[in-house]
Amino acid sequence: MKKLVLSLYAAVTVAFLAWGYYQAIYIAPADDRLGGQGELYRIIFYHVPSAMVAFLFFAISLAGSIGYLSFRRTRDAWAQISDAWALAGAEVGVVFCTVVLITGPLWGRRAWGIWWTWDARLTTTLVLWLIYVSYLLLRRFAAGPQVQTLAAVLGIFGALDVPIVYMSNRWWRMQHPAPVFGGDADSGFKDPRMLHAFGWNILAWLAWGLLILVVRYHVERQSQKAAAQDVQDALNA
């Protein structure tokens, strides 16, 4: 039954992704305003939803980290579940954040003529990515009973960067474009078809992200259970 639900969800997600792609490439018109970006702006349909999903998953990692720290002394099962969500959120968040950090410079190279600049939005996003990569390296290479606790603390500090990234191009107006929503008069989509394509791609990438998040959580839970079983076997021997 679980497999059937997962397969159905995966099929719906692939349909959303195909529809989102169709909307982004074939339905949304080119940005042909004076000084517009022509076809190049279509990168936004993958770039911005990836950033939104990354933020959401870092928030899930934050909740998991707080949950682990709250339950680690009282309810071990809950603590392990929280820890698995924290790790899954951080790892899948890093995947989406990597997409953001690669598609952004590809756009910037054409729009600004440079791959990278130490703009507030770009720099805070890079710092966010580095924090969560260090979180994953800690989980991968450190050993001992304190690893989960240290990772949870790091996960909480990492998540503090998310609102700074989000607000960075509101607080410090530098080179990065204004926000799509809530920006100045020139920001946002000028054609409703662009907005529709954007909405479909948010939905599609969110569905895709949730799919791999759940798979990653499942893998981590199985890993925890196998490790617990190994410990039990060692104690029984």
Binding site: Y21, Q37, G38, E39, L40, R42, I43, Y46, H47, S50, V92, V95, T98, V99, I102, T103, L106, W107, R109, R110, G113, W208, I212, V215, R216, H218, V219, Q222, S223, A226
Partner: protein, 87 residues
């Protein structure tokens, strides 16, 4: 058969990544700052449109390379876990 499937799982993201790199690094040079002295407006606009297209395709290809590569790695881990549990 199994090895072929695993190979394909990693070959597709690698091919997408390679394609994106090829598109970006083999793209023609951008029009110079004083392009009006060297080319017509039509040629300039065609070159800009071509470059925009190449970078757009590269961005989409890189996105899929990362996502499918991660999915392939995750699938392998899941399978390895299943095998370990079975044994």
């Amino acid at each position: 058969m199994r090895k072929l499937a695993i190979g394909l799982l990693f070959a597709l993201p690698a091919a997408l990544l390679g394609w994106a790199c090829f598109l970006v690094f083999s793209a023609p040079a951008e029009p110079p700052f004083d392009w009006m002295n060297h080319m017509s407006v039509v040629d300039h606009d065609a070159l800009v449109a071509l470059l925009d297209h190449l970078y757009l395709v590269a961005a989409y290809a890189v996105t899929w390379a990362i996502q499918l590569g991660y999915l392939a790695w995750l699938g392998l881990r899941w399978q390895a876990q299943k095998r370990a549990a079975a044994s």
